[in-house]
């Protein structure tokens, strides 16, 4: 991955408390897994920034290397990678997600 792409991704993560890299937008997800995470965040009442990787091929590829995670969606909270669809849903079902979303930056 080029440094400029890494910096762009880092910049997005640094400037948003909760950010979801996804296929489509939060108003129009274009993948079932992305839609699931959007729905979970909505139910949690969390404000979040969406980044549509379908509009940016460099970020789409770069984000996979960034977190050593080969799939999208990817959720970041306070600069930290939280997980993809399965993990976020599991955390929500176990009631663990609210604590992560409401935690102050450490």
């Amino acid at each position: 991955m080029e440094d400029s792409v890494r910096q762009e991704i880092q910049g997005i993560i640094d400037s948003n408390d909760v950010v979801l890299f996804m296929k489509g937008t939060k108003h129009f997800p274009q993948c079932g897994f992305s839609a699931t995470v959007v729905e979970v965040l909505r139910r949690s009442g969390s404000e979040f920034q969406d980044v549509n990787v379908l509009e940016n091929p460099e970020i789409r590829q770069g984000i996979k290397e960034f977190a050593n995670w080969p799939t999208i969606p990817q959720l970041y909270v306070h600069g930290k990678f939280v997980g993809g669809c399965d993990i976020v849903r599991e955390m929500y079902e176990k009631g663990e997600l609210d604590a992560v979303l409401s935690a102050k930056e450490s």
């Binding site: 897994f33 080969p70 799939t71 997980g83 993809g84 669809c85 399965d86 993990i87 599991e90």
Partner: protein
């Protein structure tokens, strides 16, 4: 698409002592899979690390042949509780 046998082979090769492995073809098209994996390799690892280990075992299969992979990972201990 990829055959279940190949996924199983990679996972068993990449992770130590896989005691339980269930692969489900979610769509019948062999490219949307669910994997339930119980392995000693997951002991003491968080969920992100556990999933990364499976992705890593599958390597380049994740970059095309497997379009989607739903993961359920357990250490033997957490699996025992789950079964409880």
């Amino acid at each position: 698409m990829v055959e279940a046998e190949e996924l199983e082979q990679r996972i068993r090769k990449g992770l130590t002592n896989v005691s339980h492995l269930v692969l489900t073809d979610l769509t019948g098209t062999k490219d949307h899979w669910e994997a339930l994996v119980v392995s000693e390799a997951f002991d003491g690892k968080n969920r992100i690390e556990q999933h990364q280990m499976v992705y890593s075992a599958l390597g380049e299969l994740m970059a095309g042949p497997v379009h989607a992979l739903a993961l359920k990972t357990y250490s033997p201990e957490s699996w025992a509780k789950q079964e409880g």
